[in-house]
Symmetry: C2
Subunit: 890 residues, 2 copies
């Protein structure tokens, strides 16, 4: 666990929505909202009086938009008019479809601009390479330096600006949509880093994709747009609405990346959700269609295209797309792609783990953080150098060009028999004077396979979908060419000759391999939309399903694999047909030893529970005998209760009272005592500061540990919430220094009239007395309806409920009595225990190499901010820590 | 409310899963399961000892299939082997994919056979019509009689065998997937009635569709297959698995109907679900693909097709499918289709309501139940008679033929200018020597529009998707032909001429209109799969989205409209952008006056609560002061508690005890008393029987009322649960006669040793004493974790939770204290109140005409069965009424 610190530090996520979206809001959020609404309601009624005469027109607006009315002081007629106009505008602006159109528009523009820049970058490389054809070495230098520079820049830029932008983004979005708040993942800085990083990374010509990052970029866009529009109105602050918009944004991301609205919606559903609301599906469709439309219209306006068509248009014949007897070949592609997909995921994970395990490599690379990207790029671009090895694997083609040639509806294999077929344009790259086209294809597949797996481990914003898609297309093409060579006149036995179309096989292969890697079936839809032809629907569907069946039984999906590597909080899927899950019950997996507090407990109990426990929330029961569950309380709440009880201000109060009583008789002793007190005070302040400093220092790992989901790691206590155990008599001071912040510091200054004349011993005694008092829960936010299960709920149902409601833990009750608790951790264990498929179980991985880069000095500022935030959150019981961090992260 | 009885009687649904899938099972079902498992566990351990030596191979099988082990008495080696083989086979059979493949296979066969029969029927009509061309009257007779006979047969057959088979089936499936158990909707009889009824109905050539019924048929198939396979293994009895399989079956239904697996999955999600589990999506894809594949392969094997292609293949050009400047025309199609779709739904509902309201028509049609179908058919077929009015609307074409001609990629409008274009084959039907093709199209659209709306009200198994699809295609064609006439050389301004393709407009129109009627966007995908071309993706998506936007703001979807007409329990959808829903709180809509029982209440309290209340479940609180919610109890449970307390057997026990005490001194008086007792006993039995008879008689409406969802109708008490109020001293007898059945009758016979010598007065006194005893909840099934909300939960979130978990009601608690209850009814009111769009709100409709047919004499047997079932359910506290009725309904 010791080596764990660095990557966890880097992870920077925080599950503040600890016990799920619903329960969280039902309790804490609802109360806060209630207060806000009550307040606004009062203000509103004032405004409404003024507007009463104009009821007819405004009634609807008012209902939908009253929070905005408050902003404008409605004193006279003009201001009333202004308010009305403003309200009308804002109520329009506040509507979903406006938001979705804006989102679609922005994303289409981003996608188009990114594509445009990438195209320019790639052209520049070609131009450089082409211009230097006199000197092979210079040519090589140009060919290699260009991507190395771009990738290094991309890696460095991302690292400096926002390390969260690294990688695909789909795993993180999946986690966020599950209700976990990942810090800094939805900020403007991340947006800039992701867009620029992605453009550079893809402009380098490495086998990287733009799909995953685009999902992240679209979510970023939605979050930022939401934030921007919340300047106008209140509706955008609603958290469940934000989640809905993020779900739509994921669809937009895929949709505008491939101009594939339907496939985009489906793909985003499959990779990010476990349960999906059909109303989000409509939102996604709407936004993705608009986005794809604008994206393609931009191409038409730019004269790239004559009209709106598919990105990689194919021209297969319509009347007889394939023969029934070709289906076994398609099935073979599907099954092989399944194995290939699993291998890809495994290889990708293996590379990450290998680099992590090799201590020396790791240490070296940690120091020179940009060396790894540069080395990988150098290796890959050297191998693809067209006059070198690249000539055997169509190295000079960019990803898009390879795909276009692979989907071509002409057959290459004939060339093996008779040299009649002319390779036109880019397709020439596949033709080598010495070697067969089959060899070229095999080399291409093998080389690109490991290159893609390696390239996607580079810490730049990148996806793996497109590289895998191209590899799949190449594999399909290979099978197709083999079939064409085997049956030169087609299989069909009737009079009409329908030659085999290897391009169709390429389509099938592309869908199957990308489906296998991502564990989705909607890649089928994506290929139809990408190619503009649906004639191969049945082969594609069959291959995709077979590929999924094979891959899912061997490996997790690429995104789940990354989630595990990054240790994001996740809930494994229930596989197919694992009947035993219907028979495992909650009582078999629940933790029976629940930490709880009773309604009539004293602060000492609170103290000991907080000392012992590690849970983020604690159950509140009526009494230890009845064990009737009343609700749950966040740990931070209890800590603030405790710290308030032992706070300096309360002690000052006590001192003041004591002083008032003792004033007359003990006036001569007070001088020396106050001297001592002043010493203590300054000492205390120093202590406080030093604590804060020490938590900032990167050498103290525990304080930089991100907050983990509650109940997640029983063996490790979270430092910020840990209570010092040995110096019992110092607990108050220690508590304060850990929990309290500004308000208490103010209190220190406010209490100028009395002086802290207590000795440490006296303080300890006073604290002991305080600890024996009964806890007053009135100022404490209690979640009054934590989620409850009964002991005989099946694992299957528990999984459903957890994923439906995004729960983190649920209490197990029996007729109101608390008998246990089950958390994500237990559930995960139970599922993985029962769904143990060989090779799937990822051993607790070591520090994520990719993420370890983020724990460097340039992020210390962020760390500091985070720490301060946390301190503020903990110390202000009147505010709501969750919503704060929410806003921050969006 | 008085006239309501007949349709409610006919409705025959029962929401036994009253408080949702999850809570229901968490509580009641779980306990029952626990008992079953414990028992089987014991038996298993015995068997396991025997199988211990063969651990290696069996370990896996045993885990997944142990219930089967129990069936075989494992005494010797051979039986062990048998068990193992059996187990292996069954564990294979039990896997999901086997089930899904079987389902897909069966459905493909059914679909193909139905299509084949329909084709034969249609050919027969054409042949008859063609053969009689010498005599116009005979021709007319043949043209008209044939469909009338078929439709009448279909209506009659369906009415007699299974009235539940009438109509589309999608509304019912939506309700069932929401967790409501509709009685008799998933039986074999319904399957037969639906398949045969559908074949005849479609064979008549009326404008009816097969999609909706196929969703129902697939669900029937899944339910029956599940039942059949549960003969082998236990996994099929799991209720949540059944729901999952039903969701997959809906996808299969659409998939094999149109050979559109992707569109099928999406369409079924959109029309049946509010929240969708992604794992069901995979199941659906798998089964639907397999089904579509087999369906198309059958066509190939039957030599209808050369290879697997789309059902209505189009051949639009690929390189330039449409011009950007044509997009406004597509948008116009979308918007107009939106209005048209809303009009269709409105018209359909209007017809149903008109016939219901006209008392005289209604009464007449009720008597001659087959007259309405016959009249409608006569009217429609008269109007389509080809030599008559049919010549102006391509009347001689069947639905499929019209669609094929409408999607043709040749332009008809040119013929208006120059007579150069030859109408080939069926397309000739659109050409009329006198009138323009535009007139033909307009007439076709207008006539088919009201015909389809009318035809779908005929009480036969039929859907409305296909007719609407054809009308949409015709409308699109009309716009396309107009455009083609307007721009004969296409709009494109460049050198190349791309003429307008009216067929593409037809595709867009078909998708848009069917999308508007069903409120789905997946019709877009369906048209791509149906036509085999995806080149018009953007126009189609834009039109479908616009059509949906318009239609959704005007009317509910056709299926929701039927749900409301049939008064199935439903939860309205939250529309887009209704911000106010984020601001309505549960406390604004909840019922504060909650009926509850306390833990220490006496039977008298129970009695009075049961007398007052009407709720299906009651809250159990700790005490009236604390109001801490402990759980909820079903009404039936309480009734059985009460009836047990006042049961004859307990009274006999009491008599026996009293008799033992009084034996010596009162031996001479006993004779006359026992005589009296015997009289009482016989009287009681008679009373019992007469009660049962009276509930059977169709003249007593209340007892035949189907069980409505709990909390649904506060003003009407359900008769079977009603307690007689006036003769307080007879309550025991009355209770017994209402609640008890066989076990009590047995008890009557068992207690032969003592005789019931109590007078009515004595009984009353005894009962009074019994009522004062404290309730013993030990034998009572308590749901220990009913769903709880807090008062500040927003309406939006409440809606989400209700639809996610399929809840019927939820308690509102505040730190454990029960403060209110919110049910579907309140939620519905709140949503419809805030989402009042003009024209949407359906007034409580009168008796459903379509369903009123089911309340006839032939269903009395069913009613009797139901009544008996209900009696049994109520009286057997050890068993689980829900699961029983569950099984029955599947």
């Amino acid at each position: 666990m010791a080596g764990d610190g660095s990557d966890q530090r880097a992870l920077q996520y925080e599950q503040t929505l600890m016990y799920g979206r619903y329960t969280q809001e039902l309790g804490v959020y609802a109360k806060e909202e209630a207060a806000r609404l009550r307040e606004s309601g009062q203000r509103r009624s004032r405004t409404l009086d003024l507007l009463e005469y104009d009821k007819g027109r405004c009634a609807k607006c008012r209902r939908s938009g009253y929070p905005y009315v408050l902003e404008a002081p409605a004193q006279d007629f003009i201001s009333v008019c202004t308010v009305r106009c403003q309200k009308f505008l804002i109520s329009r602006v506040g509507e979903d479809w406006i938001f979705l159109i804006l989102l679609g528009l922005v994303m289409a523009l981003v996608s188009w601009v990114v594509d445009f820049c990438i195209a320019i970058c790639l052209q520049a490389q070609k131009w450089m390479y082409g211009g230097l054809d006199s000197n092979l070495f210079l040519q090589y230098l140009a060919w290699v330096t260009y991507p190395v520079v771009l990738i290094t820049f991309s890696a460095g830029f991302t690292q400096i600006l926002a390390p969260q932008a690294v990688g695909s983004g789909i795993p993180e979005m999946k986690t966020i949509l599950r209700g976990v708040v990942l810090k800094e993942y939805l900020t403007f800085k991340t947006f800039v880093a992701k867009v620029i990083g992605l453009t550079c990374a893809l402009g380098s010509g490495m086998p990287l994709g733009k799909e995953g990052p685009f999902v992240h970029i679209a979510s970023l866009c939605a979050a930022l747009l939401s934030k921007f529009m919340s300047l106008f109105g209140g509706i955008y602050e609603n958290e469940s609405r934000n989640i809905e918009m993020l779900a739509a944004a994921c669809a937009v991301g895929v949709g505008c990346c491939f101009a594939a609205p339907i496939g985009g919606v489906l793909f985003s559903i499959e990779v990010t959700s476990t349960f999906f609301a059909v109303r989000n599906y409509w939102r996604g469709f709407f936004a993705a269609t608009f986005s794809a439309f604008i994206f393609r219209v931009l191409a038409v306006w730019n004269r790239d295209e004559e009209t709106i068509t598919a990105l990689f248009k194919t021209r297969f014949r319509l009347d007889f797309p394939f023969d029934l007897q070709e289906l076994p070949a398609f099935a073979v592609i599907g099954i092989a792609s399944g194995f290939g997909g699993a291998l890809f995921v495994y290889l990708n994970r293996l590379i990450v783990q290998f680099i992590r395990k090799q201590k020396t490599i790791n240490k070296f690379l940690m120091k020179k953080r940009l060396l790894y990207p540069a080395l990988v790029t150098l290796l890959i671009s050297t191998l693809t150098f067209p006059p070198g090895f690249g000539q055997f694997m169509a190295g000079k083609l960019t990803q898009g060009e390879s795909l276009v040639t692979l989907l071509d509806n002409r057959t290459w294999a004939k060339q093996g028999i008779a040299e009649e077929f002319d390779y036109i344009g880019n397709a020439q790259a596949w033709k080598h004077p010495q070697v067969n086209v089959f060899v070229t294809l095999v080399l291409f597949i093998v080389m690109k396979f490991w290159m893609s797996a390696l390239a996607t481990t580079i810490p730049v914003p990148c996806g793996a979908f497109m590289p895998v898609f191209v590899i799949g297309a190449a594999f399909g093409r290979l099978v197709g060419e083999c079939m064409a060579a085997w049956f030169p006149d087609g299989i069909h036995s009737d009079e009409s000759i329908y030659p085999i179309v290897p391009g169709g096989y390429a389509v099938v292969g592309a869908a199957a391999l990308s489906g296998a890697v991502t564990h989705t079936v909607s890649t089928a839809v994506i290929v139809f939309e990408l190619t503009g032809q649906i004639s191969h629907i049945l082969p594609v569907m069959i291959a995709v399903i077979l590929a999924n069946a094979v891959a899912q039984s061997l490996q997790p999906s690429l995104y789940d694999s990354i989630i595990r590597i990054k240790k994001l909080p996740y809930l494994p899927e229930l596989g197919w047909g694992h009947h035993e899950k219907y028979n495992i019950r909650v009582e078999d997996i629940m933790v029976r030893d629940v930490r709880y507090i009773t309604l009539n407990c004293c602060y000492r109990d609170l103290h000991s529970v907080l000392m012992l426990g590690h849970l983020k929330t604690l159950a509140l029961v009526e009494s230890a005998e009845s064990m009737i569950l009343l609700g749950s309380i966040e740990r931070a709440q209890l800590q603030s209760l405790l710290s308030q009880q032992l706070s300096r201000s309360r002690r000052m109060e006590y001192i003041r009272e004591r002083a008032a009583a003792e004033k007359k008789c003990l006036s001569d002793v007070s001088n020396s005592d106050s001297e001592d007190g002043r010493q203590r005070a300054s000492q205390e302040v120093r202590f406080q500061i030093s604590t804060e400093e020490s938590t900032v220092s990167p050498t103290r790992p525990a304080s930089q540990k991100p907050l983990k989901p509650a109940l997640k790691r029983p063996s490790v206590m979270e430092r910020p919430t840990k209570l010092p155990t040995s110096p019992q008599d110092h607990s108050g001071i220690a508590l304060k220094s850990l929990f309290c912040s500004s308000p208490d510091v103010e209190a220190l200054e406010d209490d100028g009239d009395v002086e802290d004349d207590m000795t440490l011993r006296e303080i300890a005694e006073w604290e002991e007395r305080q600890l024996d008092e009964q806890v007053d829960f009135n100022n404490c936010k209690i979640d009054p309806a934590p989620f409850q299960l009964v002991e005989r709920t099946s694992l299957h149902k528990t999984h459903t409920i957890f994923s439906l409601l995004g729960l983190d833990h649920a209490y197990v009750t029996s007729i109101g009595r608390l008998i246990g608790v089950v958390s994500l951790k237990e559930l995960r264990k139970a599922i993985e225990g029962s769904v143990t498929v060989k090779g799937v179980k990822v051993r607790p991985p070591l520090a994520s190499f990719r993420d370890s880069g983020t724990s460097s000095s340039e992020t210390e500022a962020t760390e500091l901010h985070k720490l301060w935030d946390r301190h503020r959150n903990v110390s202000l019981p009147g505010e709501q820590p969750t919503s704060e961090s929410d806003e921050k992260s969006q």
